[in-house]
Amino acid sequence: MRTITFRDALREALREEMARDERVYILGEDIAGYGGTYAVTKGLFEEFGEKRVRDTPLAEEIIIGTALGSALGGLRPVAELMTINFSLLASDLIINSAAKFRYMFGGQPSIPMVIRMTAGGGAQRGAQHSQMLESMYAHIPGLKVVIPATPYDAKGMLKSAIRDDDPVLFIEHELLYNLKGDVPDEGEEYTVPLNRGIVRREGKDVTLVTFSRMVHICMQAAEELAKEGIETEVIDLRSIRPIDLDLVLDSLRKTNRVVVAEEGWKYYGTGQGVSALIYEHGFDWLDAPVGHVHGRDVPMPYSKPLEQLALPARNDVIAAVKAIVPQPAGAR
């Protein structure tokens, strides 16, 4: 084991898969000489050359068109769209084409395409650079939507995504790139499946269901809650579509209380979707309504104090847990 950053873990996944399979190539804006907006692809141009590390014009539709067409033509593209906000310019091809082709064309084509995108707020990027939007894509049959929270998963899931035969939207929270974590030594091959969540912390009183950067905020909240005698189980979904619902329901059967925590907006999103699934499949096991921690229902403001108000924080998680968990006698 070593400790490396989320960014380096992603780069290792790209490098290993490119070395392993000649059909894998990467494309996007400023990914070659510049090394990627978030430096994820730094050094890959020098290592693999122009053929396999393709700088593209600033044109999201043709970036995804190229990736999609080349996947139909036998390649395994990994497109970088800089941010998920820009993916809306290519969302026609993602939703109307990539998600549809296998089904609409009678099962004939495979679309082994990965789209890497930065998402999330907290760095004062303003309203057009701070969205999550994972729930928009997770709504669509024919897509896979994954969103790792640790360097280990970033590497293992990106490798799985590249080997997958369907379009995978791979979402990276901007504030996680510098996060460090344990990753097996180079040469120690591993992958992480695209359909399994993971229990980050075990507890008996309440389950926090979360993903992406909110995993870390929930872990901090769980530490605080433990001091007050509340034992919190934290589940990192890792994949939004498909979702590992059994993991959530197993935990529910133990704790009988769930809070869903996400950075994105409240209405019609992942949190409400997961809550609805819990009610649909686990209603009898609930001893309290499902709690929901989420971003405020506004476009992201720029000003730092306002942005901090708009984002869900540790105290929001703690309050949501306390709202549905009976206070331990000793803590009153």
């Binding site: 068109g65 190229t66 033509g73 609409m104 049959p141 579509r241 059994d246």
Partner: protein, 345 residues
């Protein structure tokens, strides 16, 4: 002129008569589809290719079997010309399990991996971006295959047109952008939609070679496509071909075409019908007789009846098919762990 054309095309009589047969086949196929549509046997939309046969036959006859075609929603003819069995195309129109897209696609989504018919697209212009990507795959893998992207004049108005031409020119991709300018995007005349009513400056703006051709002249189209295909195969990059044609029917079956006059339609039908023009050209050079034309028509009539019968008698898809092929691994929104749920208490 006409002798020169035929000599230049380098085709023997058998090849020329085959092209004539193909034109008659895709016209009669479309006429049959229109009949079945009015009888309610075909649902959804139906965009007919009638009038544009020379544009399709001329262009696709210049390609090799390994070349890719990415097309629009007016693509029944393209699929047939690419080698897809017309029975499977008709069955697709009927929504039958035997359809070339298993009945899941319909009129606008004919597809065949085997024949490198990379789909009809119902999002206008999508095939330009996708076709450009296929071109990149051809170049990346050092094959001699090329891509022909078929689209109408309406697709030129989409941003994908410019993003595609720019990238293909920049990377010298082996793509032929083949615009079948039938002069109306649904009801919008090109003269109302285009600030400049030639595509030449748009091609030039992206450094893309440009060719203009009479889309009603099958041999001229073929020669134009041959030049473009050669450029693509030689690594000289993309060509934009503007093939001027006319659809004799409305945009779709529900279009009464109020946006153009009946006189205009009659003029095109009576003076510019591509099948009639080709027949006259062949007769002029003693390459076909009226009896042979009649024989071809009768043969095609019989074939089309057989095609429709096949579609009619084919089974509809099983209900089990509903959830198949969404993803390769069969997963849906929820990745169940396949264990029985345990009731509480």
């Amino acid at each position: 002129m006409a002798i020169g054309n035929i000599a230049l095309a380098g085709l023997d009589r058998e090849q020329l008569l085959h092209m004539h047969y193909q034109m008659v086949l895709i016209r009669r196929f479309e006429e049959k589809a229109a009949e079945e549509y009015t009888l309610g046997k075909i649902g959804g939309f139906l965009h007919l290719y009638i009038g544009q046969e020379a544009s399709g036959v001329g262009a696709l006859s210049a390609l090799r079997p390994g070349d890719y075609v990415a097309s629009s929603y007016r693509e029944h003819g393209h699929a047939i010309l690419k080698g897809v069995d017309p029975k499977l195309v008709m069955a697709e129109l009927y929504g039958k399990a035997t359809g070339c897209s298993k009945g899941r696609g319909g009129s606008m989504h004919m597809y065949s991996n085997e024949h490198r018919m990379i789909g009809g697209q119902a999002i206008v212009g999508a095939q330009l971006a996708i076709g450009t990507g296929i071109g990149f795959a051809c170049q990346y893998q050092n094959t001699s295959d090329i891509v022909t992207v078929m689209f109408g004049d309406g697709a030129v108005d989409e941003g994908a047109f410019h993003e595609s031409l720019n990238l293909a020119s920049l990377w010298k991709l082996p793509v032929v952008y083949y615009c079948e300018n039938n002069q109306y995007s649904m009801g919008m005349a090109v003269t109302k939609a285009w600030a400049v009513t030639s595509l030449e400056p748009r091609a030039a703006g992206h450094g893309v070679a440009y060719e203009h051709v009479d889309g009603m002249d099958v041999l001229a189209v073929r020669e134009t496509m041959q030049r473009a295909a050669e450029r693509a195969r030689n690594g000289e990059g993309p060509t934009l071909i503007e093939s001027v044609t006319y659809r004799f029917r409305g945009h779709s079956m529900t279009d009464p075409a109020y946006y153009r006059t009946r006189d205009e339609e009659a003029r095109w039908r009576s003076t510019r019908d591509p099948i009639t023009l080709f027949e006259e050209q062949l007769k002029e050079h003693d390459l076909i007789t009226d009896d042979e034309i009649n024989a071809t028509n009768e043969r095609v009539d019989g074939e089309v009846e057989e095609i429709a019968r096949f579609a009619e008698e084919s089974p509809v898809p099983d209900a089990d098919e509903l959830y198949e092929d969404v993803l390769a691994d069969g997963s849906g929104a929820i990745a169940w762990r396949n264990k029985p749920s345990t009731p509480r208490d």
